[in-house]
């Protein structure tokens, strides 16, 4: 049941006027004036084109924009003439933009979106990231369709990724979540997703809101929560995920810290599920993934390798407290030859799991643990990019699959140690 304190009287009045909806599209915003109009238009167009008969609401939960984002969303509100044109939905396309006055962050906004979905008995919920500039109308049926058709409770995205794109996902989160939770989910950090009302209601009832789990890691938590509680997962092939100007992105150490905190928090929250879980199962993917578009900034591979070499040496006493001897030896050896950098899959998998155990055991402050992993992550990523500098997409995909399998191989011993901790 939704926490009624989330909903102002004015919002409730608007929800009463909206009534039950078939599809709710949630857009959590914070200063997205430059992108939100196109996003709303894409969503509206997707509804009109693919769900012309559906009762739909585009719901914007804004966590304190001062650039006019809510007004821009509201100005896009359609009127009764929305039924005239063939390209528009048959039913009124509802639009609500409301401020959220609680703890800022995407987690709070998602909580509000789920509360609205619960109150309006939405059959399907789609969440869109307003920082993304490449959302097309086709993303709406891709994310909502499998839910409406009863094929899934959670539809995670799949994007065509260039080799250097989102290494935090491809090198760390994807293989780790796959090995731990036993599902081949390609994008556990779901920027966009679709879900059922049952899942939204389930999330609302979990005692995680307002805690660190959802404050910075709500995307991963939702994916992990679905897997851990038996909700049917699926994936939808979307187009490339292009972000708004990178100036908005936080620095890598901050992002890395947030992601690692979220990963570790989820693993601790769900250890009764993932510890006994065996080999991974495939998560069905709807749609066809098109070719990757490499538009991101070129990574400074040499700089990453240099940082790796320097920090491994500097952090050796700390690494001794975290890593086993064979792993430390491997890492040290890799760091010793940055010009011919190699950091193989099994070594990387062992590194990650041993760091997780250190985090779990709290052998030092958790922040210290995760920040110590960062240079190793840079080393592994640099090694991968060097190895595949001239590889084709199929080779890169095979290499990433191989990495996931290495994580799966490493999991049982890590799980055994986790239980003892």
């Amino acid at each position: 049941m939704a926490d009624e304190s989330l909903l102002s009287d004015d919002l409730l009045r608007q929800l009463v006027a909206t009534g039950h909806v078939d599809i709710l599209i949630g857009v959590p915003t914070l200063n997205n004036a430059s992108t939100v109009v196109d996003l709303v238009r894409a969503a509206q167009s997707g509804l009109g084109k693919y769900f012309p008969r559906a009762r739909a609401l585009i719901f914007n939960a804004d966590t304190g924009s001062d650039d006019g984002t809510p007004t821009l969303v509201r100005d896009a509100t359609t009127d009764d003439t929305g039924t005239v044109s063939a390209s528009k939905p048959l039913r009124t396309a509802h639009r609500i933009s409301t401020p959220y006055h609680g703890m800022p962050g995407k987690g709070s906004a998602m909580r509000m979106i789920f509360a609205v979905a619960d109150l309006l008995s939405a059959d399907a919920v789609v969440a869109l990231d307003p920082n993304v500039t490449s959302v097309t109308p086709e993303w709406i049926p891709a994310l909502a369709g499998p839910v409406r058709d009863g094929h899934a409770d959670l539809v995670a995205p799949r994007y065509p990724r260039a080799p250097s794109d989102a290494p935090l996902v491809t090198q760390l989160v994807r293989p780790l979540v796959r090995a731990a939770y036993g599902w081949t989910l390609y994008e556990p950090l779901m920027g966009e997703f679709g879900c059922s009302r049952a899942f939204a209601t389930h999330c609302l009832e979990e005692p995680v809101w307002g805690t660190g789990v959802t404050a910075d890691g709500v995307d991963l938590w939702m994916a992990a929560e679905a897997l851990a509680h038996g909700f049917k997962p699926a994936q939808a092939a979307l187009g490339p995920r292009l972000l708004d100007t990178p100036r908005k992105r936080p620095a890598l150490p901050d992002v890395f810290q947030q992601v690692m905190d979220a990963v570790c928090a989820c693993l601790e929250l769900h250890d009764s599920y993932w510890l006994p879980r065996g080999q991974s199962e495939a998560v069905p993917c709807f749609g066809t993934l098109n070719g990757a578009v490499d538009v991101g900034p070129r990574p400074d591979v040499a700089g990453m390798a240099a940082t790796f070499a320097r920090d491994v040496k500097a952090l050796h006493p700390v690494l001794e407290r975290i890593l086993s001897e064979p792993t430390l030896t491997g890492v040290t050896a890799a760091a010793a030859t940055p010009s011919q950098l190699a950091y193989d899959d099994d070594l990387w998998a062992a590194t990650v799991f041993e760091f997780l155990l250190a985090y779990h055991r709290a052998v030092m402050t958790r922040e210290h643990v995760t920040q110590t992993l960062l240079p190793l992550y840079l080393g592994r990523t640099a090694a991968f990019l060097l190895e595949h500098a001239s590889s084709g997409p199929a080779t890169v995909d095979a290499a990433l699959e191989s990495l996931c399998l290495a994580f799966e191989r490493a999991k049982p011993s890590a799980a055994a140690l986790w239980k003892k901790a």
Binding site: R13, A17, H20, R53, A86
Partner: protein, 545 residues
Amino acid sequence: MSADDPLWYKDAVIYQLHVKTFFDSDGDGVGDFRGLTSRLDYLESLGVNTIWLLPTFPSPFRDDGYDIADYYSIHPMYGTLEDFKAFLAAAHERKLRVVTELVLNHTSDRHPWFQEARSSRDNPRRDWYVWSDTDDKYRGVRIIFLDTETSNWAWDPVSKQYYWHRFFSHQPDLNYDNPAVREEMWQVMKFWAELGVDGFRVDAVPYLVEREGTTCEGMPETHEVIKFLRAQLDRHFPGRMLLAEANQVPELVRPYFGDGDEFHMAFHFPLMTRMFMAIRLEDRGPLTDIIRRTPALPDNCQWAVFLRNHDELTLEMVTPEEREFMYDEYARDPVARLNLGIRRRLAPLLEGDRRRVELMNGLLMSLPGSPIVYYGDEIGMGDNVYLGDRNGVRTPMQWSGGWNGGFSSADPERLAFAVISNPVYGYQAVNVLAQERSSHTLLNWMRRLIRVRRSTKVFSRGSLTLLDAPNQRVIAYVRAFEKEQVLVVNNLSGTVQAVELDLSSLAGAIPVEMFGQSLFPRIGTQPYLLTLGPHAFYWFRLRRL
């Protein structure tokens, strides 16, 4: 309704019926004027004040009487001209006006005019119809009866030329470029007006005149024909009414009113379609859209509004997506589809849901225009889509649970159309006699509805102001005429709804619900909260005391 009010049609509540299937007085299996006359008390008790008759002229009945073979007579199976006069007198005695059909556009190919015209190219009547050596003329003009016709031209093997027909090929179009045809049709109108007919429902109006390179619909010359007939009617029979059938969007129908010098009334086809769409979508958008698009009319004109009639529920004026939706929702069985429409009656369309039937009638009676009730819909009669063409919605009136539903004493095999006899809508379950026995039946509810509608002129003559209710499942409007105001609130949804209406412009008024005379709290400046049950509607007379 004042007997001498020239604007009587504005206050009309019209009952449309087919003499053939209303009541058979002589047991030959076909309804007739004597039978209809014997049932006028029923119509009077229903509360309607105008009767519209489907064609009763001599006809080969290849289009259920719209293929006329003689404009100056009554088909013998319906009785005699004397029977008709007696019916007319009896109706007028009960203050019931009578509107008859006037099929201007075409005749039957059996009509003597056409038989003469085709007999030789030199015949004086030859130019009464539209002929061509080729079927190339007027290329691109749409075919209306898509399910049966492939061309608007038909070959006449007798005179070896093509003749023009916008409807069935056995219905050749008259040539209104010929002044003799106009004059003759005026003589037809005059004949019936002299007998006392109060108005004419003019069939297929847009198609009277053809011009190359056009859609051949609504030509300026067509309007000249109408103006001529209207002027003649006004001059010789003031107070008689012309009602246009122009199956088009309201913007395109508007010209048929002219400056108040063409038709007095015209059907509002898209309003009907959009009522069905809105109630199934549970969204007022389709309705508010068409209401806003409906142009204002000259003061002496009025829309004719309806839910169902003797034809299919037209889907010509909707988008392909909307048509698909309507087919999916109302005609999943393809046999219910005909041309670009759905051949079903009101009750089956609404799955026999009494609440929806009531809401639809509530909308019909409260929106601008003179409402038309199609015979049998006041008791929730069903249909028989297997009868072919549109005959399935023209089955005998179900008067009782007895022999042939009380319609005729003939053997059932002899009836013009079989009586509906299935367990849901059959005459044993749905009939007038049974519904007379309880005050809660649809029939008696309809009587109350019509009585309330006619208790004020606000519905028949008043303005309409849409209210911007925040809840899209609710459509609310204010009807106002002179000093009277009525607030109408309709829940299009099948679930309970709450709505807060901004009625600050009506602050101080006390709403009095018109069916139960219940008082509601005085309207203030704050939003006025109403809750409505599934498909419920309220009519509030606003009193300032």
